[in-house]
């Protein structure tokens, strides 16, 4: 199911257009008020735009002369809060979609049980939503959305209301179930975009300011927001048992994150610029990672200086800049401890 989206809402100053390919997950990024929620509301049929189209799999859902009601769109919505129906059991919640779209009681319950198993929540089937933790409830909400067999899945900051401790597990789950699904996800978190989305669309002030493959946009951000949003060093390559090997053969040691990569599969090493030390010469005999780079740019960052070297960045003190004689064109070595490097499995479709 591919989707074509054009949204014009004059009142909110939104004028946005993008495509979602079949089976693709697109992340909508952008500061508050950029138009992300408005776009999602138009996709779900909750808001009728002043102009534009929503075309899903060749069928026009929203257009100048056409508007399909939310229930007839098959665009399931998963919001920040799980919003499980409090008067229904977990199983009945998940069976709600199939029941509403005409499945018999028995078939709906069977389908619900299957989806609960899919999200590892089969043992919660008979509970009431009030008896679930936040993470469990969101897991069930995922099963409920999927059980409705949506043509397009809409996720509105699905991890934002969760504890830091349980977010990784849900992220892993979403990564698994979204793999072959056409999905639009609004997020504020760089890891969500990195691990869930094939492509990102960056909105700012109601306009698309940047779009492209996730790794491209986050490692070579062209918009100010994407750069700020990323704020991270990203080294893409192939997973090894203890790190990531860059295409040029350089090995970066790191600690496996959640989800852990499988050796030989695409992976990314992620580390903060503040974790990078800059050395004039490669430090010998050290277990730390050394990346030979050429400084491309220096920019002030509070009382630090951000040293950019191509796609990588290091934050150092002004004293270090003076001491090392840093300037564009100078060859140096970026050094980062293995404990500061997180290694993640990379997007499903390496476009």
């Amino acid at each position: 199911m591919s989707a074509r989206v054009e949204v014009v809402v004059a009142e909110r100053g939104v004028d946005v257009a993008f495509d979602v390919a079949e089976g693709e997950t697109v992340a909508l990024l952008g500061p508050n008020g950029a138009g992300k929620s408005t776009t999602l509301a138009v996709l779900g049929g909750l808001l009728r735009p002043d102009g534009g189209h929503v075309v899903l799999d060749g069928e026009e859902l929203t257009g100048p002369a056409r508007w399909v009601a939310p229930h007839a769109r098959r665009t399931a919505l998963l919001a920040q809060d799980p919003l499980l129906f409090p008067h229904l059991s977990v199983l009945e919640n998940v069976a709600f979609g199939p029941r509403s779209t005409g499945a018999g009681r028995r078939a709906a319950r069977e389908s619900a049980a299957r989806w609960l198993a899919e999200v590892d929540a089969a043992d919660l089937a008979e509970r009431r939503p009030a008896q679930l933790s936040g993470g469990q409830a969101q897991r069930v909400a995922v099963a409920r959305a999927l059980a409705a067999e949506p043509r397009l899945l809409l996720l509105d900051e699905p991890m934002a209301a969760l504890d830091v401790a349980v977010a990784p597990a849900l992220r892993t789950l979403l990564r698994r179930v979204l793999a072959e699904r056409t999905t639009v996800v609004v997020t504020h978190h760089v890891l969500d975009a990195l691990l869930l989305a094939d492509r990102v669309v960056v909105l700012d002030g109601g306009r698309v300011v940047e779009q492209g493959a996730t790794a491209d946009v986050l490692s070579r951000p062209r918009s100010a927001f994407a750069a700020r949003f990323a704020g991270l060093n990203l080294v893409a390559g192939t997973a090894t048992p203890d790190g990531v090997r860059r295409p040029d053969g350089l090995l970066l040691h790191g600690t496996p994150g959640d989800p852990p990569p499988v050796a030989g599969s695409p992976a990314v090493a992620v580390f903060r610029p503040s974790a990078v030390a800059v050395h004039a010469k490669p430090p010998g005999g050290s277990p730390r990672n050394a990346l030979p780079v050429v400084v491309s740019e220096l920019e002030p960052l509070g009382d630090l200086v951000r040293v950019r070297a191509g796609e990588l960045a290091a934050d150092v003190t002004i004293a270090s800049v003076a001491e090392l004689g840093l300037a564009p064109g100078v060859a140096v070595t970026f050094v980062v401890k293995a404990t500061e490097v997180d290694v993640y499995a990379r997007g499903f479709h390496d476009r």
Binding site: F85, H87, F96, S100
Partner: protein, 261 residues
């Protein structure tokens, strides 16, 4: 036992609060002191008393059902719509709450009476409403409907639309959403609204006597019987009043869901 301290409630407030409670309870208690207990069983089981009580329960049940049938759609529309006309409609629906019931009875007579606005049409269909049991039910529904609508509309507004949106996104048609999500979520509000409507119907007097008259067995409900007996047989009036108090307390106390109203 631990107690939650209510910060910011001045102690002197308890004095007028107790006074208010006493003001409501004292007259009812006083009434029980006037009861001729020796004659009580025969007074409340007389033919007239039993027929009035039965009629009251029947008509109040019927009017509560009618309130639900009409009030649920009205409250839903009021809670989920916007615009100036909805505001006007909301105010008009509250009219029976502030109108003297006698005026309500005259209004009903003007609409459904033989000489009324629809009297001719109803007559042509062979339907006579005024001074029948149907008139009693209509009078009770007229005064009780706002109780149900206000209670339910408040509950619907508090519940919000978020669950409805999710249900629709899962493929549920508007009717399915209303039946399986919206109404079940406001069940406590709906129940307390229905109980209030029933209680108000049970106590209805002014509109009933104006629109339906006071015919034993047909339109003479318990409040009307009590009013009749008040002059001729004061003991019986007091005894029947106690019966009405007991029924009212049972309805409010037993049927009312916990934590609502």
């Amino acid at each position: 036992m631990s107690h939650t301290r209510h910060v910011g409630l001045p102690r002197w407030l308890f004095v007028p609060a107790l006074l208010a409670g006493a003001f409501v309870v004292l007259p009812v208690v006083a009434m029980t002191t006037r009861i001729a207990w020796a004659d009580f069983p025969s007074l409340v089981t007389s033919e007239a008393a039993r027929s009035a009580l039965l009629l009251s329960l029947k008509t109040s049940t019927a009017s509560t059902v009618l309130c639900l049938l009409l009030g649920i759609p009205l409250a839903s529309v009021l809670a989920r719509s916007e615009g100036r006309w909805i505001g006007v409609l909301r105010s008009l629906v509250l009219l029976p709450l502030v109108l003297p019931p006698v005026v309500g009875g005259i209004a009903l007579l003007s609409a459904f009476g033989r000489q009324g606005l629809l009297g001719g049409e109803l007559e042509a269909l062979g339907i006579r409403i005024a001074f029948t049991s149907v008139a009693v039910v209509l009078a009770q529904t007229f005064v009780s409907l706002p109780f149900l609508v206000v209670s339910l509309e408040g509950a619907l507004r508090t519940a919000g639309e978020r669950y409805d949106v999710v249900a629709a996104s899962l493929g549920a048609r508007p009717t399915t959403v209303l039946r399986r999500v919206t109404l079940p979520l406001v069940l406590p509000g709906l129940a307390s609204g229905a109980v209030l409507a029933f209680a108000r119907s049970l106590g209805e007097f002014g509109a009933t006597i104006t629109f339906a008259g006071s015919l034993e067995g047909t339109t003479r409900t318990l409040p009307l019987l009590i009013y009749n007996l008040r002059v001729t047989d004061a003991d019986a009036a007091v005894a029947m009043s106690l019966v009405l108090v007991v029924v009212a307390v049972l309805v409010i106390g037993l049927v009312r869901p916990k934590g609502s109203l």
